[in-house]
């Protein structure tokens, strides 16, 4: 089936290379969307939105209103609304590569992209809209601004469930994978990232200290470990695509197109 020697057949026109001079170009497009996405993520949440690192939940009402009505916050959410969809490309690519694991059923990869598909909305776009609502109408009463501020940050920092399942499924898949597409230590690292999500669970009950949404444990620890994990994952994803044998691709490729 997956053989380079599949003969040319009437349904396929091999004389049309079109954009496909590189047979993995489709995967590379999706791969390079990952750095693009995270650079945009930084511009949106760190530079424009000032959402990361987060201000304290214990802020005075006047400061909350000042934060919420910043015009830059609206610009950040406009960028987010335009670009958040890019993560669909990242997820599609993960599914494509996880499919190559041996001894791993589709259950894990389907679950992986399903939770990521859900996770982006409560964890990213919905909080963005809470901030955009506050910035759109400075005339809202202060107590509404405070509610939007809290709803925004609690969703943004506190959306845990989707990502916990994402890390779990990924770790199980890597442990089971006989082919070792991703190294085993990345699975352990994935579990570590999962634990940081658990540590963030108290953001809903505390306003100060290390477990608050701006806390050393709930925010900084989790974010640093997540960035490190995401970086390693991206590196190994790059390696996996690069080393994927041409015969595994769903195309009958001719040698001169390799």
């Amino acid at each position: 089936m997956n053989s380079a020697a599949v003969p040319a057949s009437p349904g396929i026109d091999l004389s049309k290379p079109r954009m496909l001079s590189n047979p993995k170009l489709d995967q590379w497009i999706c791969f390079w969307s990952i750095p693009v996405f995270y650079v945009l993520f930084g511009i949106i949440f760190v530079i424009f939105g000032r959402i990361m690192p987060p201000p304290t939940p214990a802020m005075a009402t006047a400061d909350i209103v000042a934060f919420m009505t910043s015009p830059y916050l609206s610009i950040a959410v406009v960028l987010l609304a335009m670009s958040l969809g890019i993560y669909a490309l990242n997820s599609g690519l993960m599914l494509t590569q996880m499919k190559r694991m041996e001894g791993v059923s589709p259950v894990l990869r389907y679950g992986y992209i399903a939770v990521l598909g859900v996770g982006g909305l409560p964890g990213c776009l919905f909080p963005g809209y809470m901030f955009a609502l506050g910035a759109f109408r400075p005339e809202y009463d202060a107590h509404i601004q405070v509610m939007l501020y809290e709803l925004g940050f609690l969703c943004f920092v506190g959306s845990l469930g989707c990502f916990i399942i994402q890390y779990t499924l990924f770790a199980i898949a890597v442990f089971l994978d006989k082919r070792q597409l991703f190294p085993k230590w990345l699975a352990y690292f994935s579990i570590w990232t999962l634990v940081t999500e658990l540590v963030a669970a108290p953001v809903f009950i505390t306003q100060t200290g290390p477990f608050a949404w701006d806390g050393l444990l709930a925010f900084y620890q989790g974010t640093i470990i997540w960035v490190a994990w995401q970086t390693c994952l991206t590196f190994y994803l790059f390696k996996a695509i690069k080393e994927q044998p041409i015969e595994e691709l769903g195309l009958p490729m001719r040698p001169n197109e390799l």
Binding site: V6, I12, Q27, C30, S74, I75, A81, L89, G92, T96
Partner: protein, 242 residues
């Protein structure tokens, strides 16, 4: 491969499409849309005065809100028929469709909630109304990625008999670009980019209606071609090789 089920899903499009148009035409405040410059009291009064039409239309939209999902699934099945090195664009397309649909469902629920208790604090009614319009008009990112994936899939298709003609790829890119500026409705209360403006609302809605109509026609043609092809020769190169 079966094509009857695909045709059934396709023919749901004109049915539900007309139901959507009816729902938005029936609800006061959509054609033309409510202005974002209305004050909280004006918004609250608007809901009090137009309760019946808003409720009936939004309940209808709640029922049919995700009725275009089967249509997009037909497009995915057609993408799967293309000869690609990987299925990556089909998978990404699926995720983008699901997310876009969720945002419409959220918008509809916010409108219904605003209309549920018309004597509520006007600021809260305005909040729900703003949230509904934001969720309805501005999450363009999913539509952009969805169209990008379909366009890429068409351009990368190595079938001798392309599933979709190449102009469909360009058409998808152009519609994505036309819809993209609507995200600016998160900032502007007046002018073409406001949620009732020429670009964010009128161009967006017209583009989307034309998009669904054109995609309905080309997808139907692709499914019918698939039916004739599967009766004459094998479906995929895998089957041919086997």
């Amino acid at each position: 491969m079966q094509t009857k089920d695909q045709l059934i899903c396709l023919w749901l499009v004109p049915f539900f499409g007309l139901a959507f148009l009816f729902a938005f035409w029936n609800a006061n405040g959509f054609f033309p849309p409510m202005s974002p410059t209305m004050t909280a009291e004006e918004v609250a009064t608007f809901y009090q005065d137009n309760l019946a039409s808003i409720r009936s239309s939004m309940i209808l939209c709640n029922i049919i809100g995700l009725s275009l999902v089967p249509f997009y699934m037909v497009i995915i099945v057609q993408m799967m028929r293309m000869v690609h090195a990987s299925r990556v664009f089909s998978y990404s397309y699926l995720i983008a469709v699901v997310n876009g649909g969720t945002m419409f469902a959220l918008a509809d629920l916010a409108w219904l909630n605003a209309a549920f208790r018309p004597d509520r604090d006007p600021q809260l009614t305005m909040l729900l109304n703003d949230l509904a319009w934001f969720a309805f008009i501005t999450p363009v990112g999913f539509f952009i990625v969805q169209n990008f994936c379909l366009a890429m899939a068409i351009l990368f298709d190595k079938s001798a008999q392309p599933v979709f003609p190449r102009w469909v790829a360009h058409f998808n890119i152009v519609t994505a670009l036309l819809v993209a500026p609507s995200a600016c409705a998160l900032i502007y209360k007046t002018g073409p980019l406001a949620w009732d403006g020429a670009i964010s609302f009128w161009l967006h809605m017209t583009t989307y209606v034309c998009y669904v109509a054109v995609m309905f026609i080309v997808t139907r043609a692709a499914v019918i071609r698939q039916a004739t092809e599967s009766s004459t020769h094998p479906q995929t190169w895998q089957e041919q090789a086997a």
